[in-house]
Assembly symmetry: C2
Homo-oligomer: 241 residues x 2
């Protein structure tokens, strides 16, 4: 039934399809990177116009996710991929879903700009959040490179950098607790900032998920457990603050 020539023909048709969907992932990833940086910047500079741009950009991100879903589904239906090819195309679906979530968190960060603009500034916390967001954006940039180049080493590197993001989050969490205890008038602003910090930390988790998808699609093995995942608020007691 299948001879080499036909096998190669099918493979290269799949490769062309894959290039198309990879280009969409790259485009989507680029928009998400900008959203992370602009979301954090709008918060720090209290720039309501920039915040509105981030919210608008999220619609384009959502549309790209739908487009990627459609293209990937069509590829599966048309090419009936198996083995590695199927693994790649299913990974593409998971990557776009993680990108969408990161974009959503960036939008939510921007949405809080208008509320926080009315509240007292928390000494440097906004700059701390921006540094944390910058770290996540760089991880995202690298994990997309790792995806394109099928670079397991780089994906592992991104995965390990998530610990830095967690540490930045823990430092901010302690800072917010201190501000709230110092002055009850800081409580509402700190609740919002804490939420944003947690959302940036979750962005890092989603980027790490993408890194694990890259490792899986290249090696066929899920990276071993051991990465702390999910909700990792430090269990600070009042005595510990």
């Amino acid at each position: 039934m299948t001879n080499t020539t036909e096998g190669q023909h099918i493979a290269s048709a799949f490769d062309r399809d894959l290039e198309q969907v990879t280009a969409l992932i790259v485009k989507m990833g680029g928009l998400v990177e900008v959203a992370i940086l602009d979301g954090a910047k709008s918060l720090e500079t209290r720039d309501l116009e920039l915040a509105e741009q981030v919210r608008e950009a999220d619609k384009r991100i959502d549309t790209l996710e739908e487009q990627i879903n459609d293209v990937a589904t069509t590829i599966i239906a048309r090419r009936a991929p198996v083995a590695t090819d199927l693994r790649i195309i299913l990974s593409v679906l998971r990557i776009s879903s993680n990108l969408e979530r990161v974009g959503d968190y960036a939008k939510n960060m921007a949405k809080r700009t208008s509320v926080l603009a009315e509240m007292p500034r928390m000494n440097g916390s906004e700059a701390g959040l921006r540094r944390m967001a910058k770290e996540v954006q760089e991880m995202l940039k690298d994990v997309l490179d790792a995806f394109i180049r099928r670079d397991v080493q780089l994906a592992e590197d991104v995965r390990s950098r998530d610990l830095d993001v967690d540490q930045m989050y823990n430092a901010l969490f302690r800072e917010f607790l201190t501000f709230m205890m110092e002055d009850p008038r800081n409580i509402t602003a700190c609740m919002h900032l804490h939420f944003i910090a947690k959302n940036v930390e979750r962005m890092g988790d989603h980027v790490t998920n993408i890194a694990e998808q890259v490792i899986y699609l290249v090696t066929g093995e899920h990276p071993e457990e051991g990465r702390p995942k999910g909700d990792r608020t430090p269990f600070v007691t009042e005595e510990g603050v």
Copy 2:
């Protein structure tokens, strides 16, 4: 190439595969339902042993997700489904991924039991959290029924009930703000409880995602936008409390 008999043969082989993977989804969903209820109960009754059971159960939930991924991938590779069949099998992957997230949030709720057990009780908030968790568990039960029976009406119903969960969350958020402002010694406990409340609200979002998958797999149309999604902490200012 294909005659009716062969077409029917392929369809029924796919149907048998689908039954197998549906049974796994039902099993996984059942474990997640128990995790939601037990997580909230362990928190309210400060039952550390029950909390530990929830953490253990999460491993079984994660294993089931992997199993579902493997079976679904094998079905795609072996049956090369197209059109509705492909849509169903891709929906299964998304449903299991959402179930895994809900299980993760339940585990995180249980994990906080030991920390909160050392802190002052917040007048009735734990009971409020349990009611919220119960609502989400019932939504999950119904959405799994909707999935099995391909019941769009029930899925729409679940989708609309997410608003109740959001309202319960908003009420708790205001309660926590008040407790924190009344007494700074409540701040740490309220930060944890607030997190749990937000996580239960996110569980509701994931159940709603599943409802939307059910609607999509039956109708082939994504339900229209209009559901508020993602991060919806009420933008309460201090004046508003």
